[in-house]
């Protein structure tokens, strides 16, 4: 299992802030996890459609689609940041 976190507009459009999911089988990457999320329904496939401007963090470090995942990881999805 891994923990998924969603922030800001992504949290709102997905109506989800946190969930636990099983890792994709094989040598799982962020890309495989995203494929799994997109297959849920139209809302999820749209939120993570290719070309959508969102950011990924794995265990609180910026990551990308090729980042490898393992059991227990915390994977966060969020829009470009706007602090300051």
């Amino acid at each position: 299992m891994v923990t998924l976190l969603y922030f800001a507009s992504l949290r709102e459009s997905l109506a989800c802030s946190r969930e636990q999911v099983a890792l994709p089988s094989g040598s799982p990457t962020v890309a495989a996890l995203l494929e799994q999320l997109r297959s849920r329904d139209a809302r999820w496939s749209e939120a993570f459609a290719p070309g959508k401007n969102f950011r990924i963090a794995v265990n609180q470090q910026m990551a990308n689609a090729t980042t490898a995942l393992k059991t227990g990881d915390e994977i966060a999805f969020f829009p470009p940041v706007t602090g300051g």
């Binding site: 507009s9 609180q60 966060a76 969020f78 940041v81 706007t82 602090g83 300051g84």
Partner: protein, 151 residues
């Protein structure tokens, strides 16, 4: 040394900056930046703002930005205080303070920290406008500012 705080409460700019320099006699330069909530943005009036963040990652990201500043310039101390939660126009959002022997290092590092904070620290702003609430869009000018520092 980096000092990083994420908090709902307001901060006292004078007290925080005095603490950075207080008692030291090797500080020649203190550069600081305060970001505040404006009552207008992108053509709309703004009556309130909510700042969301990613607890845990936020502090790590800010510490990493400060450490990178310490690697790039000769600095004594760096300070970042960033507020989260409900804010209103005129409220302070963020304070960055940098001390050094010389002003060039302090100015550059202070601006670097703000530019990186704007593009790398997980904060998100939601504004209340007469047309309803809206998430603030990231600005390409912030990416441009951050990219200036690429080696």
């Amino acid at each position: 040394m980096p000092i990083v705080r994420v908090q709902e409460a307001d901060f006292d700019t004078g007290r925080e900056l005095d603490a950075l320099t207080g008692g030291r006699k090797d500080v020649g330069a203190l550069a600081s930046f305060t970001g505040l909530v404006r009552d207008a943005n992108d053509g709309s009036s703004v009556s309130a703002m909510t700042l969301e963040h990613y607890p845990g990652m936020t502090e790590k990201a800010l510490e990493e930005i400060c450490r990178e500043a310490h690697q790039r310039w000769r600095l004594l101390d760096t300070l970042v205080i960033h507020r989260v939660g409900a804010l209103k126009p005129g409220d302070r959002i963020v304070l960055v303070g940098v001390t050094s022997a010389h002003r060039g290092d302090a100015f550059a590092a202070c601006e670097f920290i703000m530019d990186y904070l704007k593009t790398r620290a997980p904060f998100w702003k939601k504004e209340a406008t007469p047309q309803g609430e809206r998430w603030v869009e990231a600005r390409s000018s912030d990416d441009t500012a951050a990219n200036r520092w690429r080696k």
